[in-house]
Symmetry: C2
Subunit: 417 residues, 2 copies
Amino acid sequence: MSRIVMKFGGTSVADIERIRNVARHVKRECDAGHEVAVVVSAMAGATNQLVAWTREAAAIHDAREYDTVVASGEQVTAGLLAIVLQQMGISARSWLGWQIPIRTDAAHGAARIADIAGHVLLDRLRQGQVAVIAGFQGIGPDNRITTLGRGGSDTSAVAVAAALKADRCDIYTDVDGVYTTDPRVVPRARRLDRIAFEEMLEMASLGAKVLQVRSVELAMVHGVRTFVRSSFDSPDAPQTGPGNLPPGTLICDEDEIVEKQIVTGIAFSKDEAKITLRRVADKPGVAASVFGPLSDANINVDVIVQNVSADGRHTDMTFTVPRADFERAMEVIRSAAAEIGYEEVSGSADVVKVSVIGIGMRSHAGVAAQMFKALAEKGINIQAITTSEIKISILIDAAYTELAVRTLHSLYGLDEG
Amino acid sequence: MSRIVMKFGGTSVADIERIRNVARHVKRECDAGHEVAVVVSAMAGATNQLVAWTREAAAIHDAREYDTVVASGEQVTAGLLAIVLQQMGISARSWLGWQIPIRTDAAHGAARIADIAGHVLLDRLRQGQVAVIAGFQGIGPDNRITTLGRGGSDTSAVAVAAALKADRCDIYTDVDGVYTTDPRVVPRARRLDRIAFEEMLEMASLGAKVLQVRSVELAMVHGVRTFVRSSFDSPDAPQTGPGNLPPGTLICDEDEIVEKQIVTGIAFSKDEAKITLRRVADKPGVAASVFGPLSDANINVDVIVQNVSADGRHTDMTFTVPRADFERAMEVIRSAAAEIGYEEVSGSADVVKVSVIGIGMRSHAGVAAQMFKALAEKGINIQAITTSEIKISILIDAAYTELAVRTLHSLYGLDEG
């Protein structure tokens, strides 16, 4: 017997027929003798409608009221799924964030989970009752409903799994797992059977959209084995994969991964813009004069590259910001021109960040060198580079995205077949 | 300065534009220096959609889950109205049933309010904050959401007014008050400026649809002065009526009504069916043998008339049941034929109950005699009669409804002009 948390997103619960399909997935796990908690999102479209109403009510509005309105979507799904499960003869009840409770901090609209009273749920699971939990929501210190931000149901599911010390958290999604890269760009991309937490964290942070970054962080911190699988699988299909799992990707501790690849995947993000300052004074405090104003304007700076100074007095500095903040960032830099002291500022939104990720890189040298050589052979110019222990990210012209990703995918032996 | 509870139904909050209109009504009362609590229903159509989903999920379903799903409608409206009020510069916050809390019994789907923590709301009202309360909902002894049954927001509003010791509970509805009878039947029907609690209770119980019977009961028990007014009034129109009230009807203690009429109104209900048993044994226990099985089948019996026995051994018995239960009631009676012992059962759904209501009847004899005479002159046959201290109800052939109501309306001097 295992204890399993199952999470279903909005498309999987878009109408009662699909909720019935979800219930059949749940029934299969119950029939196999598992203790089951289910975390659900709002029915597809519901959250968008609720958000639209809050915006129509007032462009800028009280985040506490926003949370009260928007959290109702998951409340509806939880109740409906409980009804459908009961009709199938399965003992089940819905749980709202405030009922368990799932305690969060006070950051309405983007709250972080502080504590989940797992024993309340465990008592019921042990009695054979399925807990159907409204995702995306909790209760703040002010006794009001909080929400975790868009896509927060993934985070709810992993947090519940951690609180229940579940054997696994199954994320049912519209893809059947995590791929070596985006299959729309590289048709020969392979589904990974397993990926380490650290790798998945980099993949999610660097552009792979399968899971919320925060949910992966949480899974890593608490060691929650997280299994990404397709919600379109027939609920009645035999679970024939390794460990009686169907096709999908298990995100787990690297110790669980026997055959480690040097490179596990290639991520890319088009959501970047590059800004370059020429001939900035090369002296202490200059970085603060550049990034202070950007931080004040709530703009996240990602890659930062500062060349070694040629004359010992001036340097060039390049950094990236989210594409949506590009224009605003340029203005901030221009307004701060006097304090910073640069000769020229230029920028471009036509850049892409391509990242090569793999825990095997820790123990293998030469990955970066191979990468630079292969891209040079294709005539792709690298505009900036950053590295960490398990990833190398480069900034290139967006026009070369597909070529670069395919080249690297082949280079590191990730192509299928 | 007064303390006022304002209640708005589903049509009044059907979209953001109408919610803005509601907010303007609230603002007017705030600007006049009043402490204001607002009780809201779900946006028109929302509850029907939610109910339809629960039915699609399972025809027979857990009332606790039903409540969880359906109560979300009022949650959404409360949050949206709070946002709109804030945008108008009015301090406001939403309150859900479990947050105040509004404690109810455990009868999910048709719960009764047990207690409201009024001091929580009062603290805020005294600070000048408008309390926007989700109607129709509370929290049960099991810490789960309960709902009060359809139309329960009226009951929520009156209960909140009682808990806050409010000076008045204003019910904004799609009619501009309580009329002497249904104006669609009697174009010369008059709006009543005031009506006593007891009269309103009879009017509501006997067919007038302006207010939920339970809300009137509650208003009577707690002496909550309840004002029925139109939600279509311009929020900016001067409040020029008596006591600075606009056109509408004040439901109040009879002491507040100076000029008491003998008859205040005529109610009628087509939602009736009549069943007659011929030659029932006239002996102790026979009533129990008839009404026991009906009660077991959850069928409410209303008017009961038992003729004096002619031969001392047999009698005829007539009673009414809700029209929707007519077929089922006939079956129950037929299955119990052996225990009851009757010669013949007959029934008809073509009946209407017409009631004449007025607290003045207590001190005036002859009201019934006048009534029977006037109807006889029109050739209307009375099939059954029941009376109470302040009302006379008769059962007649449905075809005569309009004729009877108009005749009685004129007879008691209720016609306009």
